[in-house]
């Protein structure tokens, strides 16, 4: 009977360790999400009419936050035992998706192009591939991009309000490209699919803005096909 008791004592230690680890993960993730919220708040300024003038400083400011992000991810990565990423990743899934969206938004604002998965991983301070260690899961990267399109379609409209009639055209084209990209994917009936179904509304919204500009002659034909 001695041995039976021993077996169960070992088990108890194992259970306790799992519980403690989850507590620690939860704590880091909370800080991570807090930083994400701050970046989000800072970037809201892009919808203000005046933002064009201080876009650079805005981006710089947001960029500094990513130092903190990288620290948090580093702390997180150090806690996850090798090979147990998928045992615990529900904890940081949501926060990561948000940070992908924010870093991709930053890239778009600065260079009007798609942030690649590699550079996004670098910005977050994680690996691109699972084999290398704590990585950016593909699903999370894609979910982040779908949040980006939603924000950009709003920006298209507010650009008009701010008097910039050409940006909506470029955004519309960019979102159209992303839409084509996503259509290539064979999505299952999961959260990604559901979110992707929302993309068509972003596409439509941008098309409406372009339509409004076109019918009023506020945009030249050259611009449209440039």
């Amino acid at each position: 009977m001695e041995s039976t008791t021993d077996i169960f004592k070992d088990f108890q230690e194992y259970l306790n360790a799992d519980h403690d680890l989850r507590e620690e993960i939860r704590s880091v993730v909370r800080s991570l999400e807090q930083t994400a919220r701050e970046i989000q708040t800072a970037l809201q300024a892009i919808h203000q009419p005046s933002y064009l003038s201080n876009l650079t400083s805005l981006c710089e400011q947001a960029s500094t936050h990513f130092d903190t992000v990288r620290q948090h991810y580093s702390a997180l990565a150090s806690k996850i035992p090798e090979g147990q990423y998928y045992r615990y990743n529900d904890h940081w899934k949501f926060g990561t998706q948000r940070l992908v969206y924010l870093s991709a938004l930053l890239v778009y604002l600065k260079e009007e192009r798609l942030a690649s998965r590699e550079e996004t991983a670098t910005t977050l301070g994680v690996k691109t591939n699972r084999e290398e260690g704590f990585h950016l899961d593909l699903d999370d990267y894609l979910m982040g991009l779908l949040s980006l399109t939603s924000e950009l379609s709003r920006l298209a409209m507010n650009s008009v309000t701010a008097g910039d009639y050409s940006k909506p055209l470029r955004i519309s084209r960019f979102i159209g490209e992303l839409d084509s990209g996503f259509r290539l994917l064979n999505l299952k009936n999961d959260s990604l699919r559901k979110r992707f179904d929302g993309l068509k509304y972003d596409v439509k919204r941008c098309e409406e803005v372009v339509y409004d500009l076109t019918i009023r002659g506020l945009v030249s034909r050259e611009e449209k096909t440039e």
């Binding site: 930083t35 701050e38 800072a42 805005l58």
Partner: protein, 296 residues
């Protein structure tokens, strides 16, 4: 901490705007409240875990000879719980409306009540009263005020004597104001802090306690203890009858009373089985049979 970063992140905001200024204040207030809530939730979670452990420990008593040892081990665990969890919790609640944080510590409190009433039942076969439990959770802070470090404060906390806590009937909401009821602690002048136990939390704990009684009764049969089921059944019936007769009870309590009724019937079935099986041999042999079966 969130607060510093919040400040940093918003350099571009118009800090002269009255809206922003007002929200800066709200920010601090919400943060302070949320932080306190977080700390209380954490304490409550720890109390839940430790209380569950004590209950597990106490279940080992069932018909066992090591009852004395188990009870004294449990007593030690309770002491530690007061010192490391309940006293800090009382400090957090000091000067607050305890009901604001009740949801945060309710789970731990109920589990603790379940554990402590179970412990007392094993000790003296009786139901522990609320004022006794409340007294255990009331601490005299005076001694600590002179000390320096927070750590030491906790180490040396002393529970106030039972007399210091309300000794009368369960306080009714109307008159709590003018009694020394623990729920209203702001009027305590003598440096006493407490973790207030609203009577309904006490009852919820009692309801859970009956589940443990049932477990014990069923386990004890196997251990050769043929008396426990009948004794437990007696107490269960009293509690069940009381619960059946309650009017105006909150929903949560009503739900638990269904579980209580199931526990009662499980013990009734155990007693029935004992009787039916006992019919096959003389009474004195029966005990003999079971006790040897249990001692294997």
């Amino acid at each position: 901490s969130p607060k510093e970063k919040g400040t940093k992140s918003t350099e571009q905001l118009d800090e002269t705007s009255p809206v922003i200024q007002a929200f800066r204040i709200f920010q601090r207030e919400l943060d302070s409240r949320n932080d306190r809530n977080e700390r209380i939730v954490k304490l409550s979670r720890d109390i839940t875990i430790e209380s569950k452990r004590i209950i597990f420990l106490l279940q080992r008593c069932a018909g066992s000879e090591e009852k004395e040892d188990v009870l004294s081990e449990a007593a030690g665990k309770f002491k530690e719980l007061y010192r490391t969890k309940f006293y800090p919790l009382a400090l957090e609640l000091d000067g607050q409306d305890p009901y604001q944080y009740l949801r945060a510590y309710s789970a731990g409190l109920q589990e603790y009540i379940e554990a402590v009433t179970f412990y007392h039942y094993l000790l003296d076969d009786n139901l522990m009263r609320l004022n006794k439990i409340q007294a255990d959770l009331t601490f005299n802070r005076k001694a600590q005020e002179t000390k320096a470090g927070n750590q030491e404060k906790i180490t040396e906390c002393v529970q106030s004597t039972p007399a210091a806590a309300s000794d009368g009937a369960v306080p009714s909401p109307k008159n709590e104001q003018d009694t020394s009821s623990p729920v209203n602690n702001e009027t305590e002048p003598c440096g006493v802090v407490t973790v207030p136990i609203p009577p309904s939390e006490y009852m919820l704990g009692i309801a859970d306690f009956t589940g443990e009684l049932m477990r014990m009764a069923i386990n004890s049969v196997g251990a050769g203890d043929l008396e426990s089921p009948a004794l437990v059944l007696n107490l269960l019936r009293i509690i069940h009858t009381a619960f059946t007769n309650f009017s105006n009870i909150p929903r949560e309590l009503r739900q638990k009373s269904k579980v209580l009724s199931q526990s009662l019937q499980k013990v009734e079935r155990a007693c029935y089985t004992l009787r039916v099986r006992g019919s096959e041999i003389p009474k004195h042999m029966l005990a003999d049979v079971f006790s040897s079966a249990g001692s294997m």
